[in-house]
């Protein structure tokens, strides 16, 4: 030891491991325009495919005439459902157990549905071809309102299902009915309501919206006829699942399918499912013998691939008059559009909506969800949330505010009174979940203290008095939200996708020089996995994060994984990394013991190597152990230093948080201003605080957009009226509020490093905070609930309806 010997702090810092604000390795290429996204992939002889789409929301397709299109210079083929039938691909299975038309088969069921696929030498020629395809339609009456879908005289949408009384999730009540899903004890819940001192009931809608990542969905398919191999580059959040789906539906041997997800320009749930474009590009490549690229444009993205939400939640709470909740009853009408293409684990037709009891100790609850078909685009994806968790969080957080209003209690006080207490964890909820850990009271009180909640309430009371006196036209709202998420799907006992358990994986190979590569079953779309995964390994095995390369998205090299969505990467794959790293460490310990000539039990791990207990100078660094692994392992041991882990989580994780939105609204214009937004998140152990903060900023911005205006809206005859960024609210830097972030740390007891996941929390918790702020602002004028999205016009209309504007 001398002055040049690094201190323990210096050695730890050199690793850039967990807890450090490591700068992202991805940024070097992205800031120079050197990312490699799907549309950047160019293969020799590559063709372009694009869709003829339906202008009608509901119509019979009488005839498709492609003769003129085939004469357009550059057009090589027009694929229709008839073409696809020759390879049995006119319909494809959805992740939700339904089937979906790849191309219109006799009928179209939503506006912009895919009708024919034109293949041409370039994207301009493909567009010319589209314009030359003549489709003859016979319009049918459209079904737009989900509340009318099960009317006796409702038009029947899915003729393929007529007469089928059972669907993928049990009995069907009507030809337009998909499933009914019930959870909880109905009798006990009804009894709680019968003797309740106080009850509230409200129909709370969560409107249809869209994840709309900046990069749309796209792919390049290349079929090699000689080898019989299909290579697909695509915007896939779950590349291995895509490979298996292709193998199953295209009847190709799975080893001959190579799926590559390169850099992805945002996903937010939009890139989980399989879309007609992927199937058509693959078939077109098989037909033409050339690579075929399909790139969705923005209008196609917003109107055809995977909407989110569209849940209409009739919510009732029973309580005592001093504000203790005694029962929860929710009925959801879920509008799935023309095909049930929800991206949920197979056994969960309404995702994990049964987290709807939220952060509160409900003694009993009952939930029923009815899924229905309408003439709208298919989907129901989890837009930056675990499956239907944001709908559930919005439902309960809005309802708790309505109850507080009825009881004339402060919403924060009502929540504190009903929180699950720290000593109740692990907590078994009335709707069947086992919450792993939490300390809700501490988080809520920290939020209230940091924001000066009591003073804000006082200011609000003064402003209301001033409004009543006619001294101001501005009203003030405080939006409290306390959410509990359920993420990390999931344990094989209850989670699978098409029969594949929802584990995740990591393979680590250490090289002789003390560097290594980690290959993952996950796929980053901006979350910074290349940076954070290396940090976990750095801390676990004592090799600097800079020496670990992380690779994702190539199904030939990565171990099988279920991909990145539902905040599952850190809870599931993050655990797999730690477990694989611990296998490496265990072997390293044996090698170190052999080299240091001691028993392995006499060694202890010390930051970046193994040390003989009691003999601090006898030390072998992990770097040296890596070298030794390739030349002098103990007799009988295989050389090399690598490990793989497939992690089946024992439980989900339950991140939570306390948010507050302070908003001012001008009643005469409806113009709102977010004065302040505070977000406290508890995601357990924090791997990279810089990235967590960035995730929270981004999720809050999406929550802001959704709550305040972002909507996929249809007119009453089924036309999409928000089909481009002109009409679909995309906040810019000007509208977006300033974000304040904070945290508490309650590690997950069952996760190897205690992490819970964070990417989606701000969307889940943010939407109710914004909506509660608007509703809180208007409540003193006599309203109990105003539906989202709360844009200027709707705010003005609310003020007018409440008599605040002449």
């Amino acid at each position: 030891m001398n002055d040049l010997t690094p201190t323990r702090e210096q050695r730890t810092a050199a690793l850039e491991g967990m807890g450090c604000k490591r700068k992202r390795v991805e940024d070097i290429r992205f800031t120079q325009g050197k990312g490699n996204y799907v549309d950047d992939v160019k293969l020799p002889g590559m063709l372009h495919g694009d869709f003829v789409r339906s202008p009608h929301p509901h119509a019979r397709v009488k005839k498709i005439d492609d003769s003129a299109a085939l004469k357009v210079p550059g057009v090589l083929a027009v694929i229709t459902a008839e073409t696809l039938k020759t390879v049995n691909l006119a319909w494809m299975p959805t992740l939700a157990g339904d089937v979906q038309m790849v191309l219109a088969d006799g009928k179209v069921l939503f506006q912009n549905q895919e009708v024919a696929f034109v293949v041409a030498t370039d994207r301009y020629a493909a567009d010319d071809g589209i314009n030359a395809v003549i489709v003859e339609y016979e319009p049918l009456p459209p079904l737009v309102d989900p509340f009318k879908s099960m009317d006796k005289d409702a038009p029947v949408l899915r003729e393929d299902l007529v007469g089928k009384t059972t669907g993928a999730h049990g009995p069907r009540k009507h030809d337009n009915h998909i499933f009914e899903w019930t959870v909880g004890d109905k009798e006990l819940t009804d009894a709680a309501f019968n003797k309740a001192e106080v009850k509230i009931k409200e129909m709370i809608s969560y409107h249809r919206t869209h994840p709309s990542p900046l990069e749309t969905c796209q792919c390049v398919c290349s079929f090699d006829k000689i080898k019989g191999e299909l290579t697909i580059y695509g915007t896939f959040q779950a590349p291995h699942v895509i490979r298996t789906v292709v193998a199953l539906i295209a009847k190709l041997p799975e080893q001959k399918i190579h799926v590559i997800a390169p850099d992805i320009g945002g996903g937010f749930g939009n890139k989980v499912g399989a879309y007609p474009g992927y199937i058509c590009a693959a078939v077109a490549s098989i037909v033409t013998g050339k690579p075929v690229k399909w790139v969705e444009d923005r209008i196609e993205n917003l109107t055809a691939t995977s909407f989110a939400r569209d849940y209409h939640m009739t919510t009732e709470i029973a309580a005592t008059k001093d504000g203790k909740v005694t029962g929860l009853r929710v009925h959801v009408l879920a509008d799935h559009g023309a095909f049930d293409a929800c991206a949920d684990p197979s056994k969960w037709p309404a995702g994990f909506f049964n987290i709807v009891t939220g952060s509160y100790d409900f003694p009993t609850a009952h939930l029923a969800v009815d899924g229905v078909y309408t003439n709208k685009a298919p989907g129901g994806v989890a837009y930056r949330c675990s499956f239907r968790v944001t709908e559930a969080a919005y439902c309960i957080e809005r309802a708790m505010d309505i109850l507080a209003q009825k009881l004339n209690m402060d919403p924060a006080e009502l929540r504190l009174k009903n929180f699950i207490k720290p000593e109740q964890f692990p907590y078994h909820s009335a709707l069947g979940w086992e919450y792993d850990s939490g300390d809700y009271h501490t988080a809520m009180r920290k939020m209230m203290e940091t924001t000066g909640y009591a003073a804000l309430r006082k200011e609000q009371a003064e402003k209301r008095a001033a409004f009543a006196r006619g001294e101001t036209r501005e009203i003030m709202g405080l939006g409290v939200s306390f959410f509990t998420e359920i993420v990390g799907a999931g344990p094989s006992k209850n989670c699978d996708i098409l029969g594949i358990a929802m584990f995740d994986s990591c393979e680590i190979r250490m090289h002789p020089t003390g560097a290594g590569i980690a290959r993952m079953g996950t796929k980053s779309q901006g979350q910074g996995h290349e940076t954070t995964w290396a940090q976990i390994i750095a801390t676990e095995i004592g090799i600097p994060a800079d020496n670990i390369m992380v690779e994702e998205g190539n199904t030939d090299t990565a171990p099988y994984g279920l991909g990145t969505y539902g905040s599952r990467s850190t809870p599931v794959a993050g655990a797999a990394i730690a477990m694989a790293a611990r296998k490496i460490k265990a072997k390293a310990q044996m090698i170190a013991a052999y080299k240091l000539e001691v028993h392995e039990d006499d060694l202890e791990f010390d930051i970046d190597g193994f040390r003989v207990k009691g003999l601090p100078e006898k030390f072998m660094s992990m770097k040296d152990i890596c070298w030794a692994a390739y030349n002098s392992v103990p007799p009988g041991m295989e050389p090399g230093l690598e490990a793989v882990s497939y992690y089946d989580p024992p439980n989900m994780t339950y991140p939570f948080g306390a948010y507050l939105c302070v908003m001012d609204i001008d009643v005469d214009t409806g113009v709102y201003k977010v004065r302040r937004f505070y977000a406290l998140d508890d995601c357990g152990t924090r791997i990279n605080p810089m990235i967590i903060e960035g995730q929270v900023h981004g999720g809050l911005t999406e929550a802001f957009a959704i709550a305040m205006g972002q909507e996929i809206r249809y007119d009453d005859v089924g036309n999409v009226v928000t089909g481009s960024f002109m009409d679909f609210f995309m906040p810019t830097a000007v509208e977006t509020p300033h974000w304040e972030t904070d945290f508490t740390v309650t590690p997950s007891p069952h996760h190897p490093i205690g992490a819970k996941g964070v990417g989606e929390s701000p969307n889940v918790g943010g939407v109710p905070a914004f909506s509660n702020a608007v509703n809180d602002a208007f409540s003193f004028l006599g309203s109990t609930h105003i539906q989202m999205p709360h844009d200027f016009w709707r705010n003005w209309k609310a003020a007018k309806d409440l008599g605040a504007v002449a």
């Binding site: 991805e26 325009g33 990069e215 945002g266 923005r298 974000w739």
Partner: protein
């Protein structure tokens, strides 16, 4: 369709190509010149992922024809690094302040911010927010992009960067 010969300067180099009159500039840059840093996000001039610098102005290349750029001087994200290949102050700022996540909007943001700082070397936060309001980011919530541009402005102006308090 008959093709037209175009010439222009891109990132300091003279380039030429044959394009249809309807070929969009972004496609000429991405397909003909094979410079794929400039992205396409909306095709309607809203998102700014396709922003390039043309003759000293930020322009959305998805709604300009290649023939309209005849004879012009264009800089794309590939021309943003320092002459010695190191990251420019803006590129460094985006990395240091975590001003990007998926990276898809980043080229357009950096090209736009480059022009903003030329026009206004010491912008306020509000001026930065207004100055990048033609560029949409879905990941970051803009707060760290603002910091990234402030970082770059400070570095270019040779003053110490002070991160605004939360």
């Amino acid at each position: 369709m008959a093709k037209t010969h175009v010439t222009m300067k891109v990132n300091g180099a003279e380039v030429e190509g044959l394009v249809e009159p309807r070929t969009l500039l972004v496609h000429f840059i991405r397909e003909n010149l094979q410079m794929t840093g400039t992205h396409i996000g909306c095709e309607t001039t809203h998102c700014g992922a396709c922003t390039v610098d043309i003759d000293g102005m930020s322009v959305k290349s998805c709604t300009m024809f290649a023939v309209q750029a005849q004879g012009s001087d264009i800089t794309t994200v590939e021309g943003m690094a320092n002459a010695d290949g190191t990251l420019s102050a803006l590129q460094e700022g985006f990395r240091m302040m975590h001003g990007l996540q998926c990276g898809f909007c980043t080229p357009g943001m950096i090209v736009r911010a480059h022009r903003l700082l030329k026009e206004n070397p010491s912008p306020s936060e509000q001026e930065i927010r207004m100055g990048i309001s033609g560029n949409i980011c879905r990941c970051t919530g803009y707060q760290n992009i603002v910091k990234a541009i402030q970082y770059a402005a400070a570095k270019i102006n040779g003053v110490e960067f002070r991160e605004a308090a939360e």
